[in-house]
């Protein structure tokens, strides 16, 4: 040790610090001056003849199936925006400022990333898109935890976030952001749409047992479902939280048998729901009779991909969904046709919402005449449109949530094909699922969008 002290005379610590600092300044100087686009009035303003969008979807983890379908829809939307293919819903979307020559005359390009259904990975991936690839808009999701995390990042960075499949009340509730928009419906709407159907089919005075995915989506859906079912006279026996990464739910399902619950509400999605439903059915829950009532299972958020994964077990089970490919309106038909031609099977609700979000963003840019986030925000707030498969829809200005009709569906008893697994029981009108922007379930009066951010 004493020897090293001598060498300090040759190179004192101070010298080294100075040298280090000098190197830092020299190294940093060029990037400080050129790193951020100078002169531009918003972050990542597209120069050149192209504009880049960031598609951030789960390619691994429990929601990987949804992510894969989202990506297919994004690619299809890019094709249509660039004037290739048959145009899909661009032909039925109205009012529309889209011209089929990209966005604002710039060809649309895209980068992709894997969120891994983890907030950390999703933010790293979104940061890469913003910092390296220069995207003006990030879109994707498939987990509300991820959507909220990435939406926060986009707000801080100053780009637009068009949420994909995210169903938690928080996304446009307590965690709403000025730069973020959601086309998908939410847990409150599911509860409000489902309750009357459940009452009509299963009557009042049931005992419900909840299994809930343990993150912000599960929490809000459990809360919303509790509220709406208790309003029709149901009693909540117990609500048990299960980890998102869980594959085996038998340890959670076995205790249900020991209670006097006659209804199991599965606040699960994707791979979680496929496993929990399959295991619940194999435990014989649906054959049981409790308190003189047939035991029933409810899956509040349904998707065709999940129903397909769970196979036979979904027959007769009620749930709600944002969109279904069997809808007969012009927009849905056009979308199913062009998606089917491209990939050979019908799109899921995840694909539908991401396709819509891409078109809605492009249209907002055209109407605003710029990619500037604050301009796009102004163009989307309070915007009313139709022809995207959900009937008349409005982007509410107060919370950036889309308001439209909600579908209540049921697992089909006699499916005619492997895709024909759900049937629409009821189309719940918008008025029935609408709520106040300052509702307690959505962060109350304190929740605010904050200012819009251009990133400079």
């Amino acid at each position: 040790m004493s020897d090293t002290k001598k060498t300090n005379n040759v190179w004192s610590r101070r010298d080294i610090l100075k040298a280090g600092a000098a190197t830092g300044v020299i190294a940093g100087a060029p990037t400080i001056f050129t790193g951020r686009a100078y002169g531009a009035d918003y972050l990542n303003a597209p120069k050149g003849s192209t504009v880049t969008l960031g598609f951030n979807v789960p390619q691994s983890g429990p929601y990987a199936d949804e992510g894969a379908d989202e990506l297919r829809a994004y690619k299809l939307a890019v094709k249509h925006l660039n004037g290739e293919g048959d145009g899909g819903m661009m032909n039925t979307f109205k009012p529309s400022a889209l011209k089929g020559n990209g966005i604002l005359g710039k060809k649309v390009e895209f980068v992709t990333g894997d969120t891994q259904t983890k907030s950390d990975a999703a933010r790293a991936s979104a940061k890469r898109m913003i910092e390296k690839d220069g995207v003006v808009m990030v879109t994707g999701g498939s987990s509300s935890g991820v959507a909220v995390a990435v939406q926060g990042l986009c707000q801080e960075a100053g780009v637009i976030f068009m949420a994909g499949l995210t169903h938690s009340n928080d996304t446009t509730g307590k965690d709403r952001k000025r730069n973020g928009f959601r086309h998908f419906f939410n847990a409150y709407m599911s509860g409000a749409a489902l309750a009357p159907v459940l009452e009509a089919n299963y009557g009042t005075g049931r005992n419900a047992y909840h299994l809930t995915a343990d993150y912000n989506w599960g929490w809000t859906q459990e809360e919303s479902l509790k509220n709406s079912t208790e309003a029709i006279g149901w009693n909540t026996v117990e609500a048990v939280r299960t980890p998102l990464k869980e594959q085996d739910f038998s340890q959670y399902i076995a205790p249900v048998l020991n209670t006097d619950a006659d209804t199991l509400i599965l606040n699960h999605y994707g791979g979680n729901m496929i496993n929990s439903l399959t295991q619940a059915v194999s435990f014989g829950l649906r054959d049981k009779v409790v308190n003189g009532k047939d035991f029933v299972i409810v899956v509040p958020l349904y998707s065709r991909l999940m129903a397909q994964g769970a196979g036979e077990n979904v027959k007769g089970i009620f749930g709600s969904t944002n969109w279904h490919w069997s809808l007969s309106d012009e927009g849905s038909q056009a979308f199913v046709k062009s998606f089917g031609q491209e990939y050979g099977f019908p799109p899921s609700q995840a694909a539908h919402t991401t396709y819509c979000q891409t078109l809605l963003y492009a249209d907002a840019c055209e109407r605003a005449g710029t990619f500037e986030p604050c301009g796009v925000v102004a163009a989307l707030e309070g915007h009313k449109f139709d022809g995207l498969g959900n009937g008349p829809t409005e982007y509410r200005a107060e919370d950036h949530q889309c308001f439209k009709d909600v579908l209540v569906v049921k697992g089909k008893e006699n499916p005619s094909s492997q895709f024909d697994v759900l049937e629409v029981v009821e189309v719940t009108p918008r008025a029935q699922v609408e709520y106040d922007a300052t509702d307690a379930a959505f962060g109350g009066a304190e929740a605010s969008l904050g200012p819009c951010n251009n990133g400079v």
Partner: protein, 366 residues
């Protein structure tokens, strides 16, 4: 002679500082010169250096170091939430907190050595992960992750503006490039300390434990305190890395504590060269580069890369290469790891040494 080696260390540190600080320049051709990835390089480099103090010097393989990373992150985010957006208190609290936990876990785990030690640390890390993931949800916010909110008290700042404030160091914002320079500065300090520790009598003692612990015991040394200190120091490095993750991006998720994250730092260290000063850093850089760059490759990019080939050949090459990029980047990493371990058991640093020897030999014969 000793004087000379000390001088060598100073040269190494200066060179190291220069290389780290010029990252934005020399990473440009690799497409990795954007702030987020460079921050990751610095943060995981620091994590791996700290891990190497335990594993590289004493040979004790901990499979639970991600727990300290997570503890550092959570502590830092809570400091942002409760006290101030200034990063200094956050970093200090995180290091102290990680040190306390490392002492507790190390004290128990170090009663055993070898595989039993590894399993004990793994068990503790899994316990911490599960606590963070589900039991301690009020503190950690579970799966959703701990995030800042407008309602946070922040008693020292009392920031009353619109939107969530960003982390800063006395007014300099800590995202983007300034964030990278902050991480880089801490990495350089961390590296300097690790060089000093390695060269000190304490470091000598740790290496002696690695070579033969029984012999040490016979000569009358009690090795436990040395091991506990090494464990605490490397835990504090991990806590620092965790705090830096929160500094550059104020969010903490439980997945940071999972055993896969602990395994990752083991991979980094072994890939680069355990026991060497620079090796763990190289390993960390390679793994983070793969994770961020290769995972983002899709068919479109591959077609561009192999665009010069004839069409049929291009399709085949793209198909095959497609397996190893995008979602399949782990496959590429695994393959590379296999090759390195089989042919260069001492990691990439051994490759460099062999190359160096080759040049010296050919130089002499010429």
């Amino acid at each position: 002679m000793k004087n000379e080696s000390a001088l060598k260390d100073w040269t190494l540190i200066i060179l190291f500082a220069a290389v780290v600080l010029t990252m934005p320049i020399w990473l440009k051709p690799l497409g990795a010169n954007y702030p987020d990835l460079m921050q990751k390089f610095a943060i995981f480099g620091l994590f791996a250096i700290g891990f190497n103090i335990l594993f590289g010097l004493t040979g004790y393989l901990s499979f639970g170091h991600a727990a300290f990373l997570g503890i550092g992150s959570y502590t830092a985010v809570w400091s942002f939430k409760l006290l101030t957006m200034n990063v200094l208190p956050a970093v200090i609290f995180a290091v102290v907190m990680a040190g306390i936990f490392a002492f507790l876990i190390g004290f128990v785990s170090l009663r055993r050595s070898g595989i039993y030690f590894s399993i004990l640390t793994l068990a503790f890390a899994e316990m911490s992960f599960n606590m963070a993931y589900s039991v301690l949800t009020p503190i950690t916010n579970g799966e959703t992750g701990l995030q800042l909110s407008l309602k946070d008290p922040r008693i020292l700042d009392n920031f009353q503006g619109e939107g969530i404030p960003i982390t800063n160091l006395f007014g300099v914002k800590m995202s983007g490039m300034p964030g990278f320079y902050f991480c880089a500065a801490i990495l350089i300090i961390g590296f300097f300390l690790s060089v000093r520790i390695t060269r000190s009598p304490f470091g000598m003692m740790l290496r002696a434990i690695k070579s033969n612990q029984t012999r040490m015991a016979y000569t009358g040394f009690n090795t436990r305190p040395y091991l506990v200190w090494a464990f605490v120091i490397s835990g504090m490095y991990a806590g620092m890395a965790g705090a830096l993750m929160a500094v550059t991006d104020p969010l903490a998720g439980a997945e940071r504590m999972q055993w896969t994250a602990s395994g990752e730092v083991v991979l980094m260290t072994i890939l680069g060269g355990a026991g060497t000063l620079i090796g763990p850093l190289i390993g960390a850089g390679i793994i983070k580069y793969f994770e961020n760059i290769f995972s983002a490759f899709n068919e479109q990019t591959l077609n561009e890369v192999f665009g010069a080939l004839p069409d049929t050949l291009q399709n085949i090459v793209v198909k095959i290469a497609g397996l190893f990029v995008g979602e399949g980047w782990h496959l590429l990493l695994g393959l590379m790891f296999l090759i390195v371990i089989i042919f260069l058991p001492g990691g990439i640093m051994e490759g460099f040494r062999r190359l160096g020897k080759l040049f010296r030999l050919s130089g002499r014969s010429a």
